[in-house]
């Protein structure tokens, strides 16, 4: 077993990165695949979404280079689904990485022991440029870019793709899994226009959209995942389709 590392990244905030990462990890674990979610976002919202306390897991893993990564991994109470939590100290780790000019593959090297233990390693990243996000993308085999279907977010998408291009030039061997339109709203003209723009510009790389859903917001408050709240909900079906696409193409 060699884990496939998927990074969920976009430099723009509020595009559904954490929701996508957490839901995807949960759904993959339902298919008898072992998954670990690594929260590289200083906001530490992955732990909150799973009803777990925020901890300095990512900070310790990145700063204590010789510490065993396993001691910071937490069980989520779901079979085959673990979490390496993060909190605001992750931002400190980012400052240290940049100050010490640590190499691009620092996260990749720290994740190496987990490669043989999990089927999927999912990295949730912060909406920022450089530092941890850049190194997280470099560690990944696949990049998934959620982008909300609105003008500002699509502009951030161009910047994200430019960052990926620069990483390819610096030796990144990963692949673009796709652009995931989120917060799609059938009745909003802006949403429909942006969706059309995305399809015109990027073609097949644009995945099926995830519709805006109140349930996705409620999940966080309940500490449950969308499929635990309502297995028949449209959002559950859409994320399940995304999961199947990922299993097929990775």
């Amino acid at each position: 077993m060699k884990a496939k590392i998927i990074v969920v990244a976009n430099q723009k905030g509020g595009t559904g990165k954490t929701t996508t990462a957490v839901t995807l990890a949960g759904l993959l674990s339902l298919t008898n695949r072992s998954v670990i979610l690594i929260d590289c976002d200083p906001q530490g919202q992955s732990a909150v979404a799973l009803c777990l306390p925020q901890e300095a897991g990512v900070f310790n893993v990145l700063i204590n280079q010789h510490a065993d990564i396993h001691q910071y991994i937490r069980m989520t109470g779901r079979k085959g689904f673990d979490l390496l939590p993060g909190d605001r100290t992750t931002a400190t780790a980012q400052a240290v990485l940049n100050a010490e000019n640590r190499p691009l593959d620092v996260i990749e090297a720290r994740l190496d022991p987990l490669r043989s233990e999990y089927h999927y390693i999912i990295l949730d990243t912060a909406p920022s440029v450089g530092g941890i996000q850049e190194r997280a993308v470099y560690a990944a085999d696949y990049a998934l870019i959620p982008t909300s279907t609105e003008f500002m977010s699509s502009n951030g998408l161009s910047q994200m793709l430019e960052s990926l291009r620069q990483l390819v030039q610096r030796g990144w061997l990963g692949k673009l899994l796709g652009i995931l339109p989120t917060f799609f709203d059938d009745v909003s003209n802006e949403s429909k226009n942006t969706m059309q723009e995305l399809k015109d510009q990027f073609g097949d790389v644009v995945l099926d959209p995830i519709h805006r859903a109140t349930l996705l917001r409620e999940c966080c408050a309940e500490g449950k995942l969308v499929y635990e709240m309502d297995p028949q909900h449209r959002a559950t079906r859409e994320y399940t389709a995304l999961m199947n696409y990922i299993i097929k193409h990775t």
Binding site: M1, K2, R115, S116, Y142, F151, M152, S154, N155, L157, S158, Q159, L161, E162, L164, R165, V168, Q169, K175, L176, L177, G178, N193, T194, E197, Q201, F202, D204, V205, K248, H249, T250
Partner: protein
């Protein structure tokens, strides 16, 4: 008229490989090598079943450690044993198996003789039920046809079964690994060549 939010994205995207394209462009594995080298399993003698099971477990452990297939590990170990055999460092000697003796009838002529009676056969007893008969155990790995030929040749030269030879060779390699004399490491193998036109 609405403005476009994208800053020259199409050019950027052409430089980033996508997962869907990679899946499509990946050539289909026609398993030509597997077709040329069909798996050949060897029946292991009952006395060697425990050893064969240990070998199987050891291979599974090593395959997990090196994150590769059982066949890859088995091939590496078998190549080691065969090369040691060829270089004379390993000796395989065949000796009579006391459990495998059977009586044979030979004839002789005698000068002083007297008439002998041929007895009538006794009533044939039904064969005892073989409840505890050991199940057959087979071992075989995809290490290529050539290796199988070499194992057969070694077995034939010593008048023993292929399964026994296989077990002994694997046991030798695993003992060498346990003692630290044999090391396994990953090495890149060229499976495909590509032509680049260059000039000087």
């Amino acid at each position: 008229m609405t403005r476009t939010p994208f800053i020259a994205p199409t050019d950027t995207l052409s430089l980033i490989p996508t997962a869907a394209q990679a899946k499509l462009s990946k050539p289909k594995n026609r398993r030509a090598w597997e077709k040329r080298n069909p798996l050949r399993s060897h029946r292991i003698p009952t006395a060697l079943h425990p050893t064969a099971k240990e070998i199987r477990l050891a291979l599974a452990g090593l395959a997990e450690q090196y994150m590769t297939t059982h066949a890859n590990i088995a091939a590496a170990l078998m190549h080691f044993s065969l090369s040691e055999l060829r270089s004379g460092k390993l000796h395989l000697t065949a000796q009579p198996n006391p459990n495998g003796l059977k009586m044979k009838i030979v004839w002789s002529c005698v000068d002083e003789h007297w008439p002998q009676e041929i007895p009538l056969p006794k009533k044939k007893k039904p064969a005892p039920l073989m409840l505890n008969k050991a199940k057959g155990l087979y071992l075989g790995y995809r290490w290529g046809h050539e290796v199988d030929v070499q194992i057969s040749a070694e077995a034939e030269a010593r008048g023993v079964t292929c399964g026994e030879t296989l077990v002994r060779l694997m046991q030798y390699a695993l003992d060498a690994y346990r003692s630290g004399r044999l090391r396994l490491k990953e090495a890149s193998v060229v499976v495909k060549q590509q032509v680049n036109a260059t000039w000087s």
